[in-house]
Symmetry: C2
Subunit: 407 residues, 2 copies
Amino acid sequence: MKKINGGVCAPKGYKAGGICCGIKASSKKRDLALIYSEKLAVARAMYTTNKVRAASIIVTEEHLAGGELRALIVNSGNANACTGEAGIAAARRMCDLAADLFAISPRQVAVASTGVIGVPLNMAVIEGGMEALGNSLRADEAGHAAALEAIMTTDTRKKEASIEIEIDGIPVRLGAMIKGAGMIHPNMATMLGFITTDAAIEGDALEASLRRAVGRSFNRVTVDGDTSTNDVVIIMANGEAANKSISLGSPSFQIFAQALEDLCIDLAKALARDGEGATKLVTVTVSGAQDEKTAETLAMSVASSSLVKAACFGADANWGRILCAMGYSGAGFEPAQVDVAFAGSGEEVLVCRGGASIPFSEPDAKRILQSEELEIRIQAGAGAGAATVWGCDLTYDYVKINGDYRS
Amino acid sequence: MKKINGGVCAPKGYKAGGICCGIKASSKKRDLALIYSEKLAVARAMYTTNKVRAASIIVTEEHLAGGELRALIVNSGNANACTGEAGIAAARRMCDLAADLFAISPRQVAVASTGVIGVPLNMAVIEGGMEALGNSLRADEAGHAAALEAIMTTDTRKKEASIEIEIDGIPVRLGAMIKGAGMIHPNMATMLGFITTDAAIEGDALEASLRRAVGRSFNRVTVDGDTSTNDVVIIMANGEAANKSISLGSPSFQIFAQALEDLCIDLAKALARDGEGATKLVTVTVSGAQDEKTAETLAMSVASSSLVKAACFGADANWGRILCAMGYSGAGFEPAQVDVAFAGSGEEVLVCRGGASIPFSEPDAKRILQSEELEIRIQAGAGAGAATVWGCDLTYDYVKINGDYRS
């Protein structure tokens, strides 16, 4: 597996573009994106578990019942959620408009939205922008960079990646772009994720690899515990690499699934690092739990605790809050068997052994906790279950960003 | 029911006191409290649901197996949690020391602790302070005021109340003091609550009334979603009012239980208002849900959402976050049936009807959201289930207080 350039345009046969059509009325930022596959692609998606679902989620799920896509249209600046029947009609219209650009069926188009909830989407500016959006499509850097900008809201960093692997001796590429900075919690963050690949792959194999990858990456990120109405991760596979089609359970499936998981974990870490107001990436690893699910529950509870997050911000080795968060997680473990260490900048300091206090150097702990990439390592017992999750610290800026997001 | 003065000393036969013994080494603040009943009292308690339990919780539960108490000893500045066997021994020793003061059995003494987790309790300063603690006992204002000060940590307000009711024509009093400001979430907050009454009441009736009252008050408060290792609410009933003993299900039970619930709700609201860094009390009411439990789950999810709390701080009428938080609560409701209004300072503004946007005056909403007592009113459907919960806004100061609590 090697990293390559090109983001979602790295795999063969994809183009992307993005424009500023005016949804973000107060800024000149791009707000409308398109990703296009020259050939019909097998496609799968995972959606928010929130009971309140944006119009884009409802329409995309409907279209993806067919399991195939040619294009994705995405707007930022407005979530088109809690907008009633007019919102559904707007989401459908976005698919129609994109379909018209390429003379394809609207059912081969998926739609995603992100931004403020409960405000009607301004379809006039989207309609007015469609020609420019079509003209912005490129297979090169200009294309995916513009699309990536157009899906961002409070993101401060661009989050994209692309890799190349070999399947039966044939090079296959995967590319992805994601957005998300706040309202980030399983399942999936206010997060949009678009993944392209030129692999030839069966639908069920694509589905299984996506579920596994998302389960171990985006679903293990927490910024603020709020699961959005708009989360979606969509993958398209157009077969342009001309490899022998990957089937579920085959050796090539393992290679593809692992590559997809690695790609998603890279981006999940970028998501946590870019958490609203965050100054540091906080990785929480739990091992020795009775099983992987238990380890994940314990780790997520620690990474989600406001008190732990505030202590990370303040570089305060307040490990009691870590045990406390494990204790209310609902997961089974024996407090008297827990060890806790902080790690960062190549150093580690053990602060709790057997669930109780041990002497440690406060200056060492402080220095480690000041790392921009901080790890909380928890040994929860003698079991075989392990999991890693990603979060960030809770800062003044989180409050500032979210205290007045709409204005 | 009328409000009276006296806090936990308002009921007949109780004394309280508090001193600075030196647990809070860096300050001159009181840190050791005692509440004493001259007669043996029927007693019950509710404890944290955290799997990691402080030594004080373990020892108090053991002692309360007998169902009777004479005294409570409480320290602040150190939670005596995650302190292993030495912590258990220290908690037992605190009960022994209090028992020695009155020549009673240690099993008639309950112990509670609050403060930093994972640091060994300094028993030497507690032993050294016991004589002064005994001498500080008073039945008057000086007594309960000193005890109340001694149980506080980051609390900025004193939270106590006392009331008088009539049972069969005989006046009966209830008094309470609580502490808690952060790490506050069901079940029960990092919250210590001590309730006294001179009612004569059967043990099972006392238990039932405590469960009902805590369930509708302290268990409906959220500050930061962290459930502490040390939470406990203890009630003592010493029978000094000489009423006919209250039995479960009797008319006098209803009067007593309602009074206890009202007392606890008053203090629960004070707890939320004093949330760490909070600038406002946020009351969330849900009605029209299918049942009370569903209404409570929906309301707690809204009151716990970091995004909703930050919007309350910023006086931003971002009601989409409210629907979003309802949506990920796991509770059943129909998004298209939800109405949301903000209320405060005697005004109300409807911002969402039938799950969708309606026009409203932003200046009106802003003004209402700036109220120090803000209410989010949610109509979740046509059911009969209703619940009210209390929370607060998320502010810069929450982050500041918790970024460096230990130092």
